[in-house]
Symmetry: C2
Subunit: 407 residues, 2 copies
């Protein structure tokens, strides 16, 4: 059983290896921005540039440059800036609207548009952090405009996204939406008190995450009505343990900001310990991708696969929960999840993590990046874990001496 | 090694079991139409009605009623009619356009619209066969209208489907589109010579399937330019062995109709034997769901899963190829695929096949039906195999006496 300081050192070394992989293989010196379709060894197998991945990688590089001394290298900031400029130059579908594409050609022409708010949200997240790292207000101004548009779409103007209104479609809210609204507010509010629009977004995000806690907080439903009622069928019973845990640590941040201990305790119980109980594979380890709250088989073909990001979010959520209130079992859970992740997903030969394992834990897709995997979840979770472990060690926390208990 | 007559009897018995499953569990006596979201034992786990699945089940029931004496039961035709009437009453988005929904509520209100031609195509296929079985011309007239709309969208008016034109999106054609256009023409042309519109659709479908044969016919690419050029990136390298084999037997039908022996030989080599060579898993058996023509890892998470329908289409394609030109190795391949399918996908306890296995061949999703699996591929392939095996036995064909050779 590794100690906390051993885990802190592992997180730091792994973060270095992950960032080195993306610096070595993903940059496009010609047009700026980042390739995310990288094979196991970093070979670019597709030059499409995905807007989520651009915004996320800008965020990672900028945050590392700004907050971690060993990453304060000018070339990292320059790569982030080239990514931010690429987004500002190419992502929007027209100058009149904040709507952006989902995918761009290498030289920045739109290929595909999603009828959701996620692309704009990751533009906002990346540009805000770039503005902080580069100390250039114009990036943060662009980020704020995108963030407020996301907040408005999420809270009541979804028709601007181009989805037809159909008489049989129940009004619905996906957990990812308030989660991302809260994450955006968290990002933009750092050190910026008194911004009423952003405070309102944080409040809306937190309250709307809570609508997904159902059946006496025993489950977290991915889709509910805007009033927090269960929806019929598979859609209404869908659970995504990774999203639940990501929402968990975001809500813990919000509870800390508001000094709301009751909310913090609820987040730990329902969004951190709960998903680990119902979302963890008792036979092979790892969080499932999807589950059905009534025990039916999900219809998502990948439901029982082990994806990298739910495990990464679980590490963060468990350390955030332990930081919130240090109970030994939370640290044991963290160590179990981290040991599973480091054992199964790491690639010591080439750096960065595999993304998609079979239920049994064998590598199903050898790619290191693709349309939905870039430089984000691994790097962010390693950075946050390194930070939190450092704070715990400064506090003088010691690791638990008992082995992890089975769930 | 089972003989041809043993296989014919197995196909017939299995077809009975499959149809019994859907008759027992999928009917909605209240609104007509069919539930397709059925658990392993037939329990309805979601009441959404998928338009593809409605049209396909109407086709299966009507075709069985019309062509197989033991299925000429009034209740089967009545269920098909209730499905057809449900589609005529509820599927269209407006009376002015042939566009239909992808998913409907149980009582027929639209839930979701796809920006493709497939929903309309399966409406046409089901209604045409219902019109033949019920001997009611109005069903066939509705089918012809839908079929001609599909043909027009496929051949040059895709903007009516609501996809935005984006400057970075390369013009492209998916193999499924000409395949479905040819399948529709095949359906509607049966016994109806001299329909120029339908003959033109058949011709266009066949010629456009051939555009997907690339690199000296050594690969079948799922997406090409409308002129038959390779497209860049993962999209352009994607291969789907199940689609290739389904296109294979459709093209064999067309070659037979035209008396074009050269086209038939090309279909067998490139669309039947080829996909079995590059698409079959040498380690665990079964056709993969997706592959990359340059050997990269596909980005589809299910790429190495074994889905029921590619194996079902492979059985049909191999028997069609053998019927076209009886070479013993084709029959050996058929027996190998059929043995794999019957071993891995059948459910002797409850009937109908599992749909989604892991690469290794274990059941990954226990559902018997869902948004994309209904009463179609299993029943159609069993029916076609029973028919073709019966014809071969009448011709006096004998099974090969050598065991299957490894690929």
């Amino acid at each position: 059983m590794a100690s906390l300081s051993e885990w802190r050192d592992r997180m730091a070394a792994e973060l270095d290896a992950v960032v080195a992989f993306w610096e070595r293989h993903s940059h496009d010196p010609q047009h700026g921005g980042f390739f995310s379709c990288l094979s196991r060894d970093g070979t670019v197998y597709d030059e499409t540039k995905y807007v989520w991945m651009q915004g996320r990688q800008v965020w990672v590089y900028s945050r590392l440059y700004r907050t971690v001394p060993r990453f304060r290298r000018p070339e990292l900031l320059e790569a982030a800036r080239a990514g931010g400029e690429f987004l500002l130059r190419c992502a929007r579908l027209s100058p009149e609207s904040p709507r952006v594409a989902f995918a761009l050609t290498r030289d920045g022409r739109p290929v595909w548009v999603q009828r959701t708010v996620f692309s704009e949200a990751f533009c906002a997240m990346g540009l805000d952090e770039l503005g902080r790292a580069a100390e250039e207000p114009r990036y943060r101004a662009a980020a704020r405009e995108w963030a407020l548009a996301v907040g408005a779409w999420a809270r009541g103007a979804p028709q601007e996204l181009g989805r037809p209104r159909l008489s049989g479609t129940p009004p619905q809210q996906a957990l990812a939406v308030p989660m991302l609204v809260l994450a955006l507010a968290q990002q933009l509010l750092e050190g910026a008190g008194g911004d009423g629009d952003l405070e309102a977004m944080a409040e809306w995000g937190a309250q709307n995450i809570l609508l997904h806690l159902q059946r006496g907080d025993s489950v977290v439903l991915e889709n509910v009505s805007p009033e927090g009622q269960e929806l019929p069928g598979s859609l209404g019973r869908l659970m995504n343990p990774g999203h639940a845990m990501e929402a968990g640590w975001l809500l813990l941040w919000f509870a800390g900001r508001r000094g709301d201990a009751g909310l913090g305790a609820r987040a730990v119980a329902a969004l951190v310990e709960g998903p680990l109980r119902w979302g963890w594979d008792p036979h092979h380890g790892g969080l499932f991708a999807f589950l059905d709250a009534d025990g039916h088989c999900p219809t998502q073909l990948e439901w029982n696969m082990k994806l990298w990001w739910p495990q990464a979010e679980a590490m963060v959520a468990l350390l955030a929960a332990y930081t919130h209130r240090p109970r030994p079992r939370l640290l044991r859970h963290f160590q179990r999840v981290a040991a599973y992740l480091f054992d199964k997903f790491r690639d010591p030969d080439h750096g960065e993590w595999f993304g998609y394992l079979s239920r049994e834990g064998t590598v199903a897709l050898t790619i290191k990046g693709g349309p939905f995997k870039g430089c984000f979840h691994a790097a962010r979770s390693l950075l946050l874990c390194e930070e939190m472990l450092g704070e715990l060690l400064q506090r003088g926390e010691t690791p638990p001496d008992s082995p992890p208990s089975p769930q």
